[in-house]
Symmetry: C2
Subunit: 335 residues, 2 copies
């Protein structure tokens, strides 16, 4: 299996992607193609010992930064690392692709170059969030700002297949994010979505609320990309503020540092269970081949997790199963 | 000043409202009218010593529970405590009202009985949320599921006046909740709202994201009630999960309990800064007279905070200022 990794994307590129690639070829039984400026990637790689036949470099002279308009950049920068990677994936020169760079550019590359699965109206970004009951999926986490009921139904089905295949959950529960639990609650979008989800071939448990995100009430949370983005960033921001505050409390003086020693183990365990780096990246579900978004601030460990996740994505025939399940969906593609 | 308190609403009624009423008449220089089943409230009150002329009881035989359809219940149950309270407020038999009961019923009572300020299209529920930079206002936190751009502009203006008058912030910053910071980001609603907020008589700082909620980037966060409800409950749920986990870590064994002793002060201080009970209730902004929603799980301390807040709401002539500011608004009421 060959994973295509955008070596230029993310805050810690090319260090983190290169470090992760080296670890991956040693531990995961995969080959890696690093896509980026050849001399830059070569130089970074030269610091490591690794099986040379397992890592190759595909040159890409340009980079799409976080400040560029994604779709426009993908169309105009034919030599951008993410564009080169997507074209390789499309041609079958790799089994999955991963980028830590500009989210919009990766989404546009997935949509415009890799392409949608026939019948899928909109691919969606699916993020694993920590909860009191383990990782849960938020879909769509930001790919589609304006959605129709049929989109949310497909998100629920794709998320359900992902949680079953990749996380091994037998019959994943799917909740519809709303502003109240009762069936009548919601905005126009969720009210129209509710009866469609009821008929979908999934374990639909009805409306859920914001508090259910961290409680882990549903294995899959389906919502439009605007609401999903707000939830994801609210949780990330709160995690950041709380962990900074707690750290400051423990670092205050000698006594508090002493106190820290006694609870360090438990706190670290908790911190780890809340650490996005353990969960790998966010798959873009609904494209013809596996596309995965790594967190922009990923370090080597996080990129490695995302590569491991990409491998599992391929191994578990996720896309085949999504294709098969589309036939069960009532709402067909408009194209 | 006389505050009308729904003695039957909330998880801890009538104990919490009665306890808070007794404390309020002693400490806050206010009079309280407790609205509820006379014999129940009288019995609860009989356990306390207090200046008898400062607390009165208004009988209301019915209660609207959390499971009832709000608008319908408000129309049909003329003797429900929240309906009686709203009618008293309308007639001027008190200066503000407070309820910890069914949120929808309070909103409906505010809208249908107390009435909107002329020119305000939709009153909004305004909640104070803890942040790294102190309490910030989320408006609308759940009163209006489907909003128009003009609603969000009015929410921003009303929130701004509240933060200035009640919290004493000179020129409160107002942020528009979106899925990206750039001006072009957002769904249809926020994209149309952005230029209107730019022209509004407020300190508008542009789009903000979910992570800005806890970072405290803006003093006022304006959004529709669906998104606001999701944010509010996500934050509440996460706070609950994190504090439970941290508590378990400290209670694990003798050593961890020993560790807790050293950091207890700091942790309690932090917990207090994140405690909704310190912030009182959520004002419904845009009604002709002050209506305040207390948290359903409020204890006596939280109800007391909400009464103190109601007093400040009245003292600072908030409603007068909202009325005056409506003249500055370009978008007028449709009625």
């Amino acid at each position: 299996m060959k994973i295509i990794v955008d070596a230029m994307g993310g805050d810690n590129a090319p260090m983190a992607p290169v470090e992760a690639a080296v670890r991956a070829v040693k531990e995961l039984d995969v080959e890696i193609v690093l896509v980026g400026k050849k001399e830059v990637v070569e130089k970074e790689l030269s610091a490591y010992d690794y099986p040379n036949d397992k890592i190759s470099i595909a040159n890409a002279d340009e980079v799409i930064t976080n400040h560029e308009e994604p779709a426009k950049a993908v169309r105009s920068k034919k030599n951008a690392s993410v564009v080169v990677a997507a074209n390789m994936l499309k041609k079958g020169e790799g089994d999955a692709m991963l980028s830590m760079g500009n989210t919009g550019a990766l989404l546009a590359s997935g949509l415009l170059i890799v392409g949608r699965i026939k019948g899928i109206l909109r691919p969606a970004l699916a993020t694993l969030l920590p909860s009191a009951k383990g990782p849960k999926m938020l879909i769509d986490a930001g790919a589609n700002t304006n959605c129709k009921p049929e989109n949310l139904v497909q998100f629920g089905i794709m998320g359900s297949i992902y949680m079953k295949n990749v996380l091994g959950i037998e019959s994943p529960t799917v909740g519809l994010m709303s502003n109240g639990e009762e069936e009548g609650k919601g905005d126009e979008l969720t009210k129209e979505t509710f009866p469609l989800l009821k008929k979908a071939p999934i374990n639909f448990i009805g409306n859920i609320e914001g508090r259910d995100v961290m409680e882990g009430t549903a294995d899959v949370i389906t919502c439009d990309g605007f609401v999903g983005n707000v939830i994801l960033k609210t949780v990330e921001g709160m995690g950041h503020v709380v962990s900074t505050k707690v750290k400051n409390i423990f670092m205050k003086n000698l006594f508090t540092k002493l106190g820290a020693i006694f609870v360090m183990g438990g706190l670290n365990e908790f911190k780890q269970s809340m650490d996005y780096r353990e969960y790998g990246g966010a798959p873009l579900l609904g494209t013809k081949r596996p596309v995965i978004k790594g967190h922009g601030s990923s370090d080597g460990k996080a990129v490695f997790s995302a590569i491991r996740q990409a491998k599992k994505f391929v191994e578990t025939n996720l896309i085949e199963e999504i294709v098969n399940n589309i036939n069960c969906m009532e709402e067909k593609s408009n194209d």
